[in-house]
Amino acid sequence: MTSGGKQEAEDASRPVPPARETLILTGNHAASFAVKAARVQVISAYPITPQSPVVEKLSEFVEDGELKARMIRVESEQSAMASLISASTTGTRVFTATSSHGLSYMHEQLAWAAGTRLPVVMCIVTRAIGAPWSVWPDHQDAVSERDTGWIQIFCEDNQEIYDTVLEAYKIAEDERVYLPVAVCYDGYILSHTLMPVELMSQAEVDKFLPPFKSHLMLAMSMDDPVGVNPVTVPEPREGFPAYMELRHRMQKALEGAAAVMEEVEAEFAKVSGRHHGGAVRSYRLDDAEVALVGMGSCSSQAKVAIDDLRAAGIKAGVLTVRLFRPFPKRQIREVLKGKKVVAVFDRDVAYGLEGALCAETKASLYGIPDPPYVHGFIVGIGGRDFTTENAIEGTRLAVERSRNREIHDETTWLNLMEGE
């Protein structure tokens, strides 16, 4: 994937890769193939729409002997994550996938995985959260887990899903990070859509992703057992960090994770020839005055609007936020400084405030001289179509309101039914 928004790898003289294969895969199966290539050892999951095909494919791989992994059958997502926490603690590479209510049900365990600094990798096939019932895509499930300490990366196409799962293990297992990573992609829009995906050879993946070493090293010695996660008292004892210090260290690791991700991407690009831009990805932004900002399906769809916007005299480009946690404040500030208008399209709502991405984009720009005018839009909730026309409408409205730097405390929703 070398044209359009994808940035070409710096190293153009890479050797011809051995035994690469391109398959036409759904987003879910792209994730499964990446998990197989990563030689994951323990998989535990509970079925939920639209995630289920990820683990169904993996169970086929295990059944056929293509992947030597233990599948743990559990009765809930809470148990899925709990069992992976134990497995990861002993130094095995683990995987799960879930969506929506399954993710919400995992919430408590998500915090434990992060707090224990375990490199668990999970696919979040994003879907709306009830009530009322909806099996359709938006980003509410993933965004609602943003404060658990997980790294969250959003994908725009199936190749990016495959590549990001491999990168996720490398980032999670980096000793400067040691944090769980969620690879998020739109339910149905990617999960059930076929696209070409170039698979790397097993030799290439093995070289990129050597076996991982647990920082807890429990698997190393049965003669020296340790207890993990005892009660930590409010004050440090005998020079050892207490709860507050450990949480401080987790936050520091998150703050440094964006830089590690960019390193990992550069290394991945050398092997694969594909570079997805690191924490953020720009599309026709260099000469742009107006930036459309989004994640996953939103930023992808926004790119379709750029030709029309430019033809109408609005010099626009798109900023894709790949890394949602840790939020890439510096990268966003660098790309957006000097722009006149920023239109943020959120497929989620931080209920009672505004779109989460919009709020955080604004926060990232706080304090810079002459900041761009930022306006947020709520789109595509519960699988509602987010169209090119919606992107154009939002951008025009943002440009119009920027003229008087209007402040709107209320949110603006696009593509609602008439009269709403």
Binding site: S3, P137, Y188, T193, L194, V304, G383, T387
Partner: protein, 193 residues
Amino acid sequence: MAIAIAFYGRGGQGAVTAANLLVKAAYKTGKFPYIMAFPVFGPERRGAPVGAFARISNQEIFDRDKIHNPDIIVIMDPSIFKTANPTGTLKKGGIMIVNSSEDASTLREKYGIPSGTKIGIVDIVKICFEIKLLIDDNTPIFNTPVLGALASVLPQIPLDTMYSAIKEHFPNPRVAELNAEGARRAHDALVTS
């Protein structure tokens, strides 16, 4: 060059498989390095109206919305016209491919297809019974013949490439051959007006 194709039929008639095989064939030609195929999102039921969609392009596809104005509409079951007639969504200059035993003027009159809109008609049911492309000796298979009909309106995807996508899909060579024959017959039988 980007082409969007919408397939409408009933659950079990293979609209989803048709869309999937079409993009695989398109990719094989080398002219369409960017492809996507997707069903109508959500639960599916045998017999209920279903849709499947394909985009094929020589440039990266950023669209993540539904297909609102397809270049080609494939009607796998004419009863779809009565539940949700998609005629109005066809792009100007596009073509509708209809599986029907009726002629163009009858279809135009019954379902309000404007005279300016190109129609391609093929009687897939007849072909299936002729060559015994049937499930349980009584249920015609629509998806592979539809690919043959598409090959005749999409010169960028030759019939041979459709064959190879079909053959990859069916591991049993006898079944693959029969499906390829269905595609060939539908290709030859398509009448456009």
